[in-house]
Symmetry: C2
């Protein structure tokens, strides 16, 4: 919850579902975004930037669903500085307990000239109008001068003054290119404070990118200069090298609290789960040497972290796996565990599972428990996340057979259930068994999808680990002609991502591929249906 009266409280603004979701290859459906949003609420973030409602009908739907369902954090929707965007953003967030409209316009001459093809005067007008319009709808209005760190400081100050005059309650300063250095960024903010004294009456926010590995350091420098909102994302996902990692910034404040004296509202024990969920649903791996949430983050030598006699100069809150919730592997079920035990275990993980969903989950749990000696909390989490994906699959791999050998080319046959409910069959002899399964699915469905990314990770370690397969496919104009969707306009390519979790990699690969296909087809249909919007790929954002 926000406690704006506390001068030492830093607000955490999570943009995983907006800036993060714009990263290449990520495509989350509404159910998946809701799941992440619920975890963000459990995590205790102050603001969830749920999306960019004008970008597509799917984006709008997700922001609206989150606004309606997720309690606790402020729910924000992004809008460019024009009436249609602001209207759309309001429509999407209006049902939230605490809605926010976040509007932005570029203040750097590079952007004004090349992207907006406008003038500085135009920009001032756009800022004035969009903040005023947002304020008609909503008390809580945030304004960002995009690409501020490359903009003329005096001009930026003028624009900020306008935004504040029109009622903006949060002013966010993005380092859009990601090239700022900490001292310089702090000085930029300090100078803005001098030029625009009323900046002290609103919340100053920072939004830093990690192109030079300084996103957290810049955010920290900004906070020390007076900013009290940090825009960040789980696992640091986002455009290019990503946004500031939420978990890194939060744990920096937590660990150095005695010296820095600033707090957030984040429940650190939910960090690991948030990280896993986002990684799993986006298909974006977290490297082993990632701070806080990497596999090795707490794999340390004995002696390094003994909290013994500490010297007077500095004091540390030593963080360990428990602090960030990485000890979730203690829960263990076995093949004799019953439905009740499963339900209780899932509840402890935060999932309310009943009725048919529980039956399905129990059936899958039994299949896994038969093969694995122990089913851990991580396995269960993967299983439930996988079930979330299952509900929305339109193409489903029903069965498969593959022969792989070093002596002859691998041959695969599959049966795929289509959206109409019928099961079609396909076969292929490929370069490898996975390749053969993918092409067999193409043959069965008649969709000429191309594989763009393929990855396999083990959910937990060990011989009998569950394997998690991530697949990204692409459909293009050529393919569209064979989709057979009436009236589909074929201007764009569409990508779709799919993941699956089983003990059998080939099976998981096939299931993931079918899901990716489903998402790609849906995206293509959405793009075709939404004639008025610009394609999402061209919407440059802070």
């Amino acid at each position: 919850m926000t406690a704006p009266q506390d001068p030492d409280r830093v607000l955490i603004f999570d943009t995983t579902l907006r800036d993060g979701e714009q990263s290449p290859g990520i495509s989350l459906n509404t159910t998946e975004k809701l799941e992440i949003a619920h975890q963000l609420a459990r995590l205790g973030v102050d603001v969830i930037e749920a999306g960019f409602p004008i970008a597509s009908p799917g984006d709008f739907e997700a922001v609206q669903a989150i606004a309606r369902e997720v309690e606790g954090p402020i729910i924000a929707g992004l809008a460019r500085a024009n009436p249609a965007d602001v209207d759309r953003a309001w429509e999407a967030v209006r049902d939230a307990e605490r809605p926010r409209i976040h509007t932005f316009v570029s203040t750097s001459d590079i952007h004004i000239v090349h992207q907006l093809q406008a003038t500085r005067e135009d920009v001032k007008g756009l800022a004035r109008a969009s903040v005023a319009q947002a304020k008609e709808y909503c008390e809580d209005v945030e304004f960002s001068p995009m690409d501020a760190t490359r903009a003329d400081l005096d001009f930026t100050a003028e624009v900020l003054q306008i935004a504040i005059d029109e009622g903006a309650t949060t002013i966010n300063i993005p380092d859009t290119v990601g090239y700022a250095m900490p001292q310089e960024y702090a000085e930029f903010l300090t100078t803005l404070y001098e030029r625009v004294p009323e900046l002290r009456d609103v919340v100053l926010s920072v939004h830093c990118h990690d192109d030079l590995g300084l996103a957290v350091a810049n955010s920290f420098a900004g906070v020390l200069a007076g900013a009290r909102q940090v825009e960040c994302a789980i696992n640091g996902i986002g455009e290019r090298a990503g946004n500031a990692s939420l978990e890194e910034f939060v744990m920096l404040l937590h660990t150095r609290a005695a010296d820095v004296g600033l707090t957030t509202g984040v429940n650190t024990r939910e960090i690991a789960r948030a990280s896993r969920l986002v990684s799993r649903l986006t298909g974006y791996a977290v490297q082993p040497n990632k701070a806080i949430v990497g596999r090795n983050a707490f794999a340390h030598e004995s002696g390094i972290h003994q909290d013994g006699v500490l010297k007077e100069r500095t004091t540390y809150e030593i963080m360990d796996a428990t602090t960030v919730g990485l000890d979730a592997n203690q829960l263990v079920l076995g093949k004799h565990s019953g439905r009740h035990a499963l339900r209780a275990a899932l509840e402890e993980l935060g999932y309310q599972v009943d009725g048919q969903t529980l039956n399905t989950a129990f059936k899958r749990f039994k299949e896994i428990a038969d093969k694995k000696k122990q089913v851990t909390a991580l396995d269960l989490e993967a299983l439930v996340t996988d079930e979330l994906r299952e509900e929305v699959a339109a193409y489903t791999m029903e069965w498969f057979e593959v022969e792989a050998s070093s002596r002859r080319p691998p041959h695969a046959t599959v049966g795929v259930r289509t959206p109409d409910g019928e099961v079609v069959q396909g076969a292929f002899t490929g370069d490898g068994p996975i390749d053969a399964i993918f092409r067999a699915i193409n043959a069965a469905t008649g969709l000429d999808a191309r594989l763009r990314d393929f990855r396999v990770d083990a959910v937990t370690g060990g011989q009998d680990a569950l394997g998690e397969v991530s697949v990204v496919v692409e459909l293009g104009p050529n393919a569209g002609e064979r989709i057979g969707l009436p009236g589909v306009l074929l201007r764009e390519r569409a990508t779709g991502a799919g993941q699956a979790v089983t003990t059998d990699i080939i099976e998981a690969a096939g299931i993931a591929y079918a899901r990716a296909l489903t998402n790609a087809v849906r995206r293509m249909q959405a793009q075709a249906a939404d004639e008025a919007s610009e394609p999402t790929a061209e919407l440059a954002t802070p």
Copy 2:
């Protein structure tokens, strides 16, 4: 090359092969370490910390080989502050063009009491003796007060004075726990300069860890405070959250040269290749949103990076994929390319391949070219790296057959060539086809290895991408009894990593597993043979 007379030149000390190699699950053989070292030389680092010679015979051998073969950078070996370590380090590096001994001892009371079980006076004596001993051997001596950022500053200053008196030419200040903040770290260095004026006559070095996401920021703050050596690693690998990323620090200086005015000797166009090589050989993935070398680092929206009119406050060297060498995908061969074209392409990539090695490479190239329309430079690089691994495999999977189906459990049969040269056969019906192949290899070899990690990445995008499989296995005391190695002492577990690249994932998995097995067996033999050394896992380092 080092140009110590230039006050604006920052020396890059790469510790990928020492701090990096200590990360969990990484096991590099000498050939692989040499390959990395040669790439580091091409990259233009000033110092290569090639390893920790006392840690094991394998470590010693690798440091010595690098010292003997790699020209250009200073070659450093690490040593604790005792005579045996320093002797051993000298033995390993003495044949280098420019050898360095890097010795260290903890100065924090937590370490002195708990790790060393000693006193501050003892530590002063150890520092004096080890630097003096090293100086007898070698002009170039580096000294690190380990865990300095948690140590009493005055005591640390005393120890540094001693080290300088005995002839240390580089003083390195590690933030061993990784909890320092930039301003604080800079102040620590500034205060050390005040307490120890002669610090200005040597090279001050920084060594930062990324536990709070501040490794690069702290290194940068240190350099602004006067340090002129930065210890870092490719892809930021290293203990826990890793070391400062070499590529991030270098590109920070490069991009902001106009404002910061400091340079390194690094050839930035070799960065991407270094990153791929280290990622491939260590099995450590680089996440998509990793700065500089992540897959998305330069996947940016149009308009964001237009180098148009820049304002007077700051100037940027805009970096793009070409700057860091990420455009290596232009080279393309096809199935009609001959041996000569292959050789030329490999040369362009920096590999001198002739004779039998060229024949083998050509054969594999042809196999791949038959399956893929185009073979790119990335594919070739993967192929050559794979060949490097091939040379040292003792257990090799000769052939396999797998039947996978959703209707019955997968069955695998394999033929494995053992170190004796005979081919043994094994079969297994498993939970999945990969599981079945692994257990079939276990059955064939009689080795009860356990799978600890398994990952698959695509080398290049696309339907016909090469798949790269990474496997880590573990052998333990139980297994050792069945190894049948005479006189093998079975106190320790041993892990081994293996990777393989083919278009067929199942095949690659089997090949990688056999390699991992080979490395694990060798490591167990090395551990058993080396009675006198402490097990590597207990050697805490800066």
